[in-house]
Structures are given as C-alpha cells and as structure tokens.
C-alpha cells in the first residue's frame, strides 16, 4: 500500500520532475555524444545518484519529521546551495573546454570537474581524468534539489514512524518519477558529431548560469 502510494505519487508528478531534470540531463547527454546504449548507461548512473539523494532525504524525513524542510528559509538556503553547486559543475563543464575523456576512470564515475589549470596540478596518474561532471554527481545534486513533487513526497514520508517505511516510500516515488526519464537515451539518435557535442556542452554552461542565478537568489532569500 505504502509502496503503491509512493509510486503513484511519482507517476503523477513525474512530468514536473522531467521538466526539472531535462535542462541538466539533455545538454549533458548531448555533450557526452554517446550512442543510445551509452546514454542508457549514463542515465542509469544518473538515476543511481538521484536515488542516493532521495534515500538521504528519506533518512532525513524519518529522523527530523519534516523539520529540515519545514522552515522555508532553511529549505531555500539548502536548496539554493545545492543549486549553486550544480550550476558551478555545469558552467565549468560547458565553458572550460571540457569533455576530455579519461582512459582509466569513466566519466560516469562521479569524477569532479576541473578546469584545465586545475588539471595540471593533479598527480600524473590523474592527469587524464575527465573534466565532465559525473552523471552520478549530477543525479545526486538534482536528487537533493527541493522541487515541488519532492516536497510532496517529503511531507508524506515524514509521517512514517519507521525508517524502513520512509526508505520504501522514497524508493517507490523514485521509480514512479524515473519512468519519465526513460525516453531520454534517445537523445543519442541525433548523432555523435563534434558539433552536437559542442552545442550540448555550451547549453550545459548556459543552463548552469540560469541555475547559478536561481541558487544565489534562493540562498539570499533564505538568509534574509
């Protein structure tokens, strides 16, 4: 019953989740320029990160009984800070000539992004590390962003007396919302040309600028 409730809530509000995630995910997928199969792997990793974010909030919901997000200023400060982090990742990815791939570590492993100058300071073993933000990290940061459907889930989960119930509810909610992200690997159909990758990366940078502004506004509003 609880699982179904979470799942149905996810299905009902997943369109909004897609609207929030697509501006981050679509430019990222284009920027990586992978095939459909490669995109499936990226999105799976993204969803893994997102699930981790959801479960973290499931624990918080259970532990604090909604106290974390109950007070709007606090919620906006946390949410804004997360958005700023996400924005910085996207901006560096978009504008710092990123996208070089690592031979040893796949880009989807959640490797932090680094500008070219920063890369030079790395130990030799890490010199080839991808500057692309990991799909897992993007998933985590979008997962812990407090969007309207997420607030709905959070307020429901806060009512559960046991941690297991809260985790189960958030997992079901995650599965429901994830259904809407299923078509996104088809982005790989547009091709793997360098021009498409450049457009994807630049678009990620522009979305990052939008995120940066809204993050700063949220933090400022929260601190007021």
């Amino acid at each position: 019953m609880m699982f179904m409730k979470g799942f149905l809530l996810g299905i009902a509000s997943g369109g909004v989740c897609l609207a929030y995630c697509a501006p981050v995910l679509v430019p990222y997928l284009l920027g990586e320029g992978k095939t459909i199969r490669g995109n499936v792997a990226s999105i799976s990793t993204f969803l893994g990160g997102r699930l981790a974010g959801y479960l973290l909030f499931a624990v918080l919901a259970w532990a604090t009984h909604f106290a974390v997000v109950k007070h709007l200023p606090y919620q906006r400060t946390v949410g804004g800070s997360v958005t700023i982090g996400l924005a910085l990742l996207l901006i560096v990815y978009g504008f710092a000539g990123s996208g070089q791939r690592c031979n040893a570590i796949p880009a989807t492993a959640g490797v932090p992004c680094l500008p070219p100058r920063g890369r030079a300071w790395l130990p030799r073993a890490c010199a080839g590390v991808s500057m692309a933000p990991g799909a897992a990290m993007l998933g985590f940061l979008t997962g812990v962003n407090v969007c309207p459907p997420f607030l709905l889930a959070f307020s429901d989960a806060a009512q559960f007396p046991r941690l297991g119930q809260s985790l189960l509810f958030f997992t079901a909610f995650f599965l429901g919302t994830s259904a809407y992200l299923a078509p996104l690997p088809l982005v790989g159909m547009v091709g793997r040309r360098e021009s498409i990758r450049t457009i994807g990366r630049l678009a990620a940078g522009i979305v990052g600028l939008f995120c940066l502004y809204s993050g700063i506004v949220d933090v400022a509003a929260g601190m007021r």
Partner: protein, 386 residues
C-alpha cells in the same frame, strides 16, 4: 553602339522585372484602399512605395542583391524603432510593461518567442506568452502564420529579409572600414544552437519564455518588464549589456552580425527551415580559387574552409547575398535545389529575390510609411506622438 544597346536592353529588362513588384507593392502598402486625402496620411505610403520599388529596381538593374537589400534592411530596422516606441508610448504610456498589463495579454508577440512556445504548447495546450491570439498589435496567430509562410518560402532568409531586429547589427557592422577582431573561434558559431537548446528546456521547465525574460537584447529598443524589483533590475542590466555588446560593439569590431550569427536562438531555429525550402547558396568548384573572401565577409559565419570545399554554405546561411557579391570569380550564386550549380544563376537569384523582397518590401514598406508619418508629425506638431 553595342554598349548602348546592351545598356538599353538591361534597363528594359530591369523595368519589366520590376513591374510585378510595382503592382504588388501598391496593393501591399495601400492594402487595396484609396490614398487618404490629407497630406499627413497621404505622403507616407507614397514615400514607402517609391523607396521600396526603387530599391527593387536597383537590385535587378545592378545585379547587387546584398548592397541594396542591406540599405533597405537597415532603414527598415531604424523605421521599426521610430514606429514601435511612439506606438508603445501612445498605447501604454511607457516602454516598460507592468505585471498588470502583461496579465491583460496586450504584449505584442515577437517571432523570437516561437521556439520557446512549441514544447509547452504541445504538452499543456498553452501559449506561454502574455499576448493576444488574434487582437491588438502583432497578435500571436498572425505572427505564427507569417513566420510559417516565410519559413517555407525562403527559410532562414527571414533573418536577412524579414527580421526587424537583424538590421540593427547589420547597420552597426557597416561602421568602420576594416574589422579589428578577425579571428573568432568556430566554436562560437554553435552558441546560438546551445542558447536555443537551453531556452527551450528552461522555458518548458518554468513555463515562461526565459529568453524574453532574461536574454533578449532587443528589449532595449522595444518593450521590457517594468523595473520594480531586484530581479527585473538584473534582467535590465543583462539585456542592455547584451545589446551593447552583441548589437553595437562587436558588430563594429568584427564587421559581422554577431547577434544574429553568434547568439540569436531564433536564428538557430530558423536554420532548420533552410532544409525545407528550395533556395540555397552554392559555390561553383570549377570557378572557385579558394581566396577565402566569402569566408572572411560572411556576416553570420556561415562559410568556412570545409563548406567551401563542399561547395555550399552552412545551414545557418541567411541568403543575404554578401558572398555572391564579394566573390571575384562569380563562383558563388543563388541556387535552386535539384538544378545544376552555376547554370543560369541569375534565374535562381530572381526566383529567390521576388518572394524575399515581397517580405522585406511589405513589412519594411509599412515601417517606412509609419516612420514617415511620425517624422511628419514631429515636423508639424513638435512631437512624435499623435
């Protein structure tokens, strides 16, 4: 004697080719109505008619499409401002639109919004723009139909023959003799597509036209949200800065249309329509000597070494005719898809110029007429407002 015969023949041909435009422009400018009796309303359409028809004749007679298109295009942009701003002041009292006025749905619809409304319209059957569907100045339905017709007919030719903003950076790009900034990374030619992708996604997410709210530089010369908060103040700083940089400073420094070629998402969107219509620009490989003049002068960065090798332009070409005029070997020409390259290029040029000029002449003519009226009003009453 032969020379004189040639000139007379060329003149007669140009006059004959101008006759259809002579008739069509009369209908378009007067809208089939008899001319008003009073001078204030009678002179403007006559001026517009004479100017537009003269420019068409010059395009045909001299064979210089770009030169005369460009002068008319820039004039049209200037006239647009002379018409639009007083109109706003008369109807709203200010260029700044309040939230209440937006809620009433009186904001004129602009073609820049088109890429942003498609996904939300498909998903929620809502046009995310505070304009009217059928009523008022520039209603949504009229603009959409106009854009669709133009896109099918001339594709991204819209940007050099119809867009009332393009003339601004084209005008500023004429200032100065030589470009100060020459080498621009090809990477930036993809930026309009990235802006397009970003605004389409963020508009769908926020259900607001994000480009209009945040980025459109042309709010500087049209209408903008009244500055009543920190957000609207930041938005104003952004659009004025973008206008200064992309429409004024960079065109002067590069002698290119930087707003159109490096930023405009509508231009990027319009590029896809180049695939639909029958006209394009082609480079005759047999004549081309790879001098690179077309590459160095293309206002919208639509030609590079790779495209020259392929004998065509990038899909971002606005068909302005600059490269056709600049080529010292006449290797670049207007072309109808499916026909051999370089064979009877003048026929392809005229086939393109008719619909393209009809667009420029009709919208530009109405702006010239409107601007003439405002200037006469200024002379007579001391004010641009009626």
């Amino acid at each position: 004697m032969t020379d004189n015969n040639g000139k007379v023949r060329r003149l007669l041909t140009a006059v004959l080719l101008t006759v259809p435009i002579l008739l069509l422009m009369r209908m378009m400018i007067t809208q089939g109505q008899p001319l008003p009796k009073d001078a204030l309303h009678r002179i403007p359409p006559i001026v517009a008619y004479v100017v537009t028809v003269s420019f068409f004749f010059l395009i045909v007679y001299t064979g210089r499409t770009h030169r005369y298109r460009s002068i008319l295009f820039v004039t049209y942009a200037v006239c647009f401002v002379i018409v639009f701003i007083p109109n706003l002041l008369e109807t709203q009292g200010s260029m700044a639109i309040t939230q209440a006025e937006m809620a009433q749905g009186h904001t004129p619809f602009c073609h820049m919004v088109i890429p942003m409304v498609i996904i939300p319209a498909a998903l929620s059957r809502t046009i995310i723009f505070p304009g009217s569907m059928l009523e008022g100045f520039a209603p949504i339905a009229t603009m959409l139909v106009l854009w669709l017709g133009v896109s099918i007919t001339i594709g991204r030719g819209w940007c050099s023959w119809g867009c009332f903003y393009g003339g601004f950076d084209e005008g500023f790009s004429k200032i100065g003799r030589k470009p100060i900034i020459r080498n621009i990374s090809r990477k930036w030619a993809y930026l309009p597509f990235a802006v397009l992708l970003a605004i389409v996604l963020t508009s769908a997410a926020s259900l607001t036209p994000t480009y209009c709210g945040w980025l459109c530089p042309f709010k500087t010369v049209t209408e903008y949200a009244a500055i009543t908060s920190t957000t609207t103040l930041i938005q104003a700083v952004i659009f004025v800065s973008l206008f200064t940089a992309l429409v004024v400073v960079l065109p002067i420094l590069t002698k290119r249309r930087t707003q159109c070629g490096l930023f405009c998402p509508m231009g990027a969107f319009q590029s896809f329509t180049n695939k639909l219509n029958i006209f394009d620009i082609r480079i005759d490989q047999d004549k081309c000597v790879q001098c690179g003049r077309c590459e160095n002068t293309c206002p919208t960065f639509s030609i590079d070494r790779e495209t020259i090798r392929k004998g065509r332009t990038r899909m971002t070409c606005t068909k302005c005719g600059r490269c056709v005029e600049e080529c010292p070997r006449h290797a670049v020409s207007y072309h109808i898809k499916g026909t051999p390259v370089g064979v009877r290029p003048q026929v392809a040029r005229m086939m393109f110029v008719y619909p393209a000029f009809l667009l420029l002449g009709t919208i530009g003519g109405s702006m010239i007429s409107g601007a003439t009226y405002r200037i006469l009003l200024l002379i007579r009453t001391g004010s641009l407002l009626g």
